[in-house]
């Protein structure tokens, strides 16, 4: 029953109804039952648990938590109320952290591959053998192919910094993380506009446009919670999404935008704000460069023009531009996190950045704020020099503006397959899973086939671990001691957290720091790991002598947070020292200095009618949690969201198994026939269709996004572009 159909009853009806129901109770009770009698319930006893502070590891947010430990077993994880970044919450995944610790699918001992690659035949070996083998292989590869012949990939983790440190000490430039499969396009765009990657201060905002971000499902703390609280206080949140997500359902307004046309919407907002002079002229003159060029660029990009591109009514676009400007500077186009969508995603996100610049919201409450000072000291070292090193990363110069410290996984993979510009023959992987996150899985497989040695350190037998020569068991976050990490929380400032073990490591697991330290010892690099984690933390916290005690007591330390506006008058870190509406660096490099709109590519093949979009829910963080016993109750499989009219045309009914295919691969999964998605778009959750025999809940369940996605990439920064694939969909068994 919909809201609008709800029948409200008056006070008088309420009384009448109460009388009627009392009569009904009396009638059924005749001769049998008397009114329920209250009894004294036995007093419940408080659990005999120890409460230990830690930090969640079920996604990248790192929410503070309190582990309840009974007789050495974690029985519950609760939110740490002193950790304000998460607004005192722990989501479904956080609660399922217990199931992760005690997951029977955990890797329990070092495992050496004895069958063919990917065949799943393993032999348990000792840690001594495992370290010796890894060190020997690394030495051999370095001798034969230079030290850059080793590739290091670490996911989001509080110990990942040690993997990068090791790679640098070992002498390889080739380091990738998950970020080039996720957020680099957005970072590139904001960096090239503001000279900085600012954070949204949702809490103080009065108007937020969420485009390409499903923030009420893909939770980011504190933004997700703050969106709800500000709407309760009258702020407006507008969602543009081809799908009726939970964010769309709860937003003030939702528009099922044509995928790939966000830039047209943003340029039309700019058109209205500029043509109606809704900006702060003094601010724009003092703090931005290129307004005249931008004005000329967007002169024809009216809301009427954008309506044809986006499908959003022109009147609404015009109104939103005025509302945004009226609420400025406490208004924003939300920058978003995952921006690995299109080949021109950097330029799309540039258009987001430009609208924010027009709102004058930089370093203002409710706008975009520069990262707040965390005061964490780097534990620096002098990396050794190796004469035989190649000039740079294997993917260097493959795109104009690669992030040198992140690279591009898709382009690195291409280079490994080709063996050019130089061969990479070894791969050290920590807690990242490109076999489940990098587009076109068969290419990742092809890359792995080029390798002489691949070692994966992880808690579970991920699809990537399944392909390795050696798998090393990592402890869960609850079993570890971790260095200090700074977390950002909008205008509220940074906070510092660490982890101490809540329980001792299970099985034979060893933290990656210990593994790297042992390898460093074998490889003559001991001097770069001549510390333990407590000593490292002390160095990190050198600026705050009181912090260690406070983190021990509260689970979190808040460094001093200067008020917003501290950057006023200071130059921006761009060539013009201003916010670059017109990007002078792009002009010099022959790139479009202003975002040039190109309509999204249409399907190249009449049979492949549907654009694939992917995402996650509040219950899973991709493949790292879909195999979790508790979370699999919420998301047991992924289904293909298919518009109900499109389904009718295809003869597909609710729950039918459909076959989907792209030039990259194919899959089978059940159809979820729904009005909640556009006719031209299909959607799948990530993290399913696994191939690893070590994942009992997800192996062969549903379809894999990376089996279907083509390996496209952002032409400016090399970030993957995972919404550029069209699928054919047919009912299984249909001709």
């Amino acid at each position: 029953m919909s809201d609008s159909e709800t029948k409200r009853i008056s006070r008088r009806d309420f009384l009448r109804l109460a009388g009627a129901s009392a009569t009904a109770v009396a009638a059924t009770a005749v001769g049998a039952v008397t009114a329920p009698e209250a009894k004294a319930a036995p007093a419940a006893k408080a659990p005999k648990w120890e409460s230990k502070l830690s930090v969640c590891d079920m996604c990248f947010n790192r929410c503070g938590l309190i582990a309840r430990v009974e007789r050495g077993v974690i029985t519950k994880l609760d939110p740490n109320p002193k950790f304000t970044k998460s607004r005192g919450m722990l989501c479904a995944r956080g609660n399922a952290g217990v199931a992760q610790v005690y997951d029977p699918d955990r890797v329990k001992t070092p495992l050496l591959r004895v069958g063919k690659r990917g065949e799943g035949k393993w032999k348990a070996i000792s840690w001594d053998e495992a370290i010796e083998l890894t060190a020997t292989k690394m030495k051999d590869i370095a001798a034969k192919y230079t030290r850059c012949g080793m590739l290091f990939s670490a996911g989001a983790d509080m110990q990942s910094g040690f993997v990068n440190r090791f790679a640098e000490a070992f002498g390889s430039f080739n380091v990738t993380s998950h970020e080039s499969l996720c957020l680099l396009s957005g970072n590139r765009a904001f960096l090239d506009t503001f000279g900085d990657v600012p954070l949204p201060d949702v809490k103080n905002s009065k108007y937020v446009i969420l485009a390409g971000a499903n923030r009420l499902e893909a939770l980011v703390t504190p933004d997700s919670m703050d969106l709800i609280s500000i709407m309760g206080n009258g702020a407006k949140v507008v969602v543009l999404d081809p799908r009726y997500t939970k964010s769309a359902a709860l937003a003030s307004e939702w528009y099922p935008i044509q995928p790939g046309t966000d830039m047209a919407f943003m340029l039309a907002l700019a058109n209205v704000i500029i043509s109606e002079k809704l900006y702060d002229a003094k601010y724009m003159a003092e703090r931005t460069s290129g307004l005249d060029k931008l004005a000329a660029h967007v002169a024809d990009m009216t809301p009427e023009w954008a309506e044809k591109q986006t499908g959003i009514p022109a009147a609404d676009i015009r109104r939103m531009a005025r509302e945004l400007a009226a609420a400025a500077p406490a208004s924003m186009v939300y920058p978003g996190r995952r921006t690995s969508d299109y080949e021109n995603s950097t330029q799309i996100r540039r258009s987001f950045a430009i609208v924010n610049a027009l709102l004058g919201n930089y370093d203002r409450p409710g706008g975009l704020v520069p990262a707040r000072p965390a005061g964490l000291k780097k534990v620096a070292f002098e990396p050794p020099w190796y004469d035989d090193s190649p000039p740079g990363r294997v993917d260097a110069k493959s795109v104009p503006l690669l992030f040198d410290d992140e690279g591009s996984f898709v382009l690195t993979r291409e280079a490994v397959i080709k063996g050019a510009p130089y061969p990479i023959k070894g791969w050290f992987v920590y807690k990242t899973n490109p076999m489940a996150t990098a587009p076109e899985r068969r290419k990742t497989r092809e890359m792995i086939d080029q390798l002489d040695f691949m070692v994966v350190v992880d808690i579970a037998m991920s699809d990537t671990a399944w392909m390795a020569d050696l798998v090393l068991p990592a402890p869960s976050a609850m079993e570890r001691q971790d260095p200090v990490q700074a977390l950002q929380s909008g205008a509220e400032g940074a906070c510092l957290v660490w982890r101490d073990p809540v329980i001792p490591p299970l099985y034979e697991s060893r933290p990656v720091f210990d593994i790297l330290k042992a390898l460093a010892g074998k490889l003559g690099l001991a001097e770069f790991f001549d510390f333990d984690i407590p000593a490292y933390r002390l160095k990190q916290l050198a600026a705050f002598p009181e912090a260690a005690e406070i983190i021990k007591r509260d689970g979190v330390f808040y460094p001093p947070n200067p008020p917003l506006g501290g950057t006023d008058g200071a130059p921006f870190k761009t060539p013009s020292q201003k916010i670059e509406l017109y990007c002078s660096r792009y002009a010099e490099m022959g790139l479009d200095p202003l975002p040039v709109y190109q309509p999204p590519k249409t399907t190249p093949d009449a049979a492949r009618k549907f654009r694939l979009v992917v995402g996650r829910s509040a219950c899973i963080t991709q493949g790292s949690s879909t195999n979790n016993a508790l979370l699999s109750e919420f998301e047991p499989e992924n289904m293909l969201w298919l518009n109900e009219d499109a389904a009718k045309e295809l003869g597909v009914r609710q729950g039918d198994v459909v076959q989907v295919e792209s030039p990259a691969g194919k899959g089978e999964l059940k159809a979820l026939v729904t009005p909640k998605i556009r006719r031209d778009t299909v959607y799948m959750l990530s993290g399913f269709g696994s191939i690893s025999g070590g994942l009992s809940h997800t192996k062969g369940v549903g379809a894999s996004i990376v089996e279907l996605m083509e390996s496209r990439f952002d032409s400016i920064c090399g970030n993957s572009a995972i919404h550029e694939t069209f699928l054919s969909v047919k009912k299984k068994g249909a001709a």
Partner: protein, 279 residues
């Protein structure tokens, strides 16, 4: 000692359907796989007119719920052994696991589908507002973990409790979900905009003629309701009944599926009741 009245006041407009409360409950209470002590229901969004005249889906709404710890609970009347009773000290509806024979009567008697038969213990189970956590000075797991603090818990007889304060602040705007014509006086209060409201079902009273005719031979139907024979009959029935059946308003666990969560298709027998504040 003054008597408590523990209740939940829910601002369902804040609920983002993240399942944090459901996961927290399962972990805190060791709830078996496939059954749920609490839930989030999803209203079917209406079709609305876009400004260009086209139709699109309008506002959605998610609604957290669980056992409502009613003041006039139909489940207590349905229990043949006295295993289900109302706590004199805090008003919660309690199941004594030592007395429960797993007959399932209370499951059908609950209009809200709040009860289920635990497939492992084979006795009735439902939300108990986490008494062990309360004894430790903590909120129930679902309340503690909620990202947007949609669930608020407390003793509404204590005007200083969070729940009582929220009720007072929303005086005249609070509703309860009940089955039409059967007001069990639930202690689950929703801020008035809540949806869906079409999901409570008519409670089945085990002493009604129809119900008895459906389970035991007509010759013993009266005896069943009145004597220890009834207990034996119900015990016998337990041995034949499949495990893990949720009540008819239940199957809450599947409500999150994007299109599968149809809140019981506009059943005409449910309504929202306005509260004129509370006593």
């Amino acid at each position: 000692m003054s008597t408590q009245k523990l209740a939940m006041v829910i601002d369902s407009a804040k609920c983002i359907d993240c399942k944090g409360c459901v996961a927290a409950c399962k972990q805190a209470n060791g709830v078996s796989r496939g059954v749920w002590r609490n839930w989030i229901k999803e209203a079917v969004p209406p079709l609305v007119n876009a400004s260009d005249g086209s139709k699109k889906l309008g506002h959605g709404h998610f609604q957290p719920g669980a056992c409502m710890h009613c003041d006039e609970p139909t489940c207590i009347q349905a229990c043949p052994t006295g295993a289900t009773y109302k706590s004199a000290s805090d008003g919660t509806v309690v199941i004594d696991p030592r007395l429960c024979i797993g007959c399932g009567n209370c499951i059908k008697a609950c209009p809200y589908g709040a009860r289920f038969r635990d497939p492992v213990k084979r006795i009735a189970d439902k939300c108990n507002y986490c008494p062990e956590r309360r004894a430790a000075g903590l909120a129930p797991a679902c309340v503690d973990t909620c990202p947007t603090k949609a669930r608020v818990f407390g003793d509404i007889n204590d005007p200083n409790s969070d729940a009582a304060k929220l009720l007072a602040a929303n005086q005249g705007k609070v509703v309860r979900v009940i089955a039409k014509g059967k007001d069990t006086k639930p202690n689950m209060y929703y801020i008035a905009s809540t949806a869906p409201d079409g999901w409570a079902v008519q409670p089945v009273d085990p002493l009604s003629f129809d119900f008895l005719a459906g389970v035991v031979a007509p010759a013993v139907k009266w005896a069943v309701g009145l004597s220890g024979l009834g207990v034996l009959a119900m015990l016998g029935r337990q041995l034949f009944v499949g495990a893990g059946t949720h009540g008819s308003g239940g199957a809450h666990g599947t409500d999150d599926k994007p299109n599968g969560g149809k809140p019981s298709d506009d059943k005409p027998n449910t309504e929202k009741k306005e509260e004129g504040g509370h006593a």
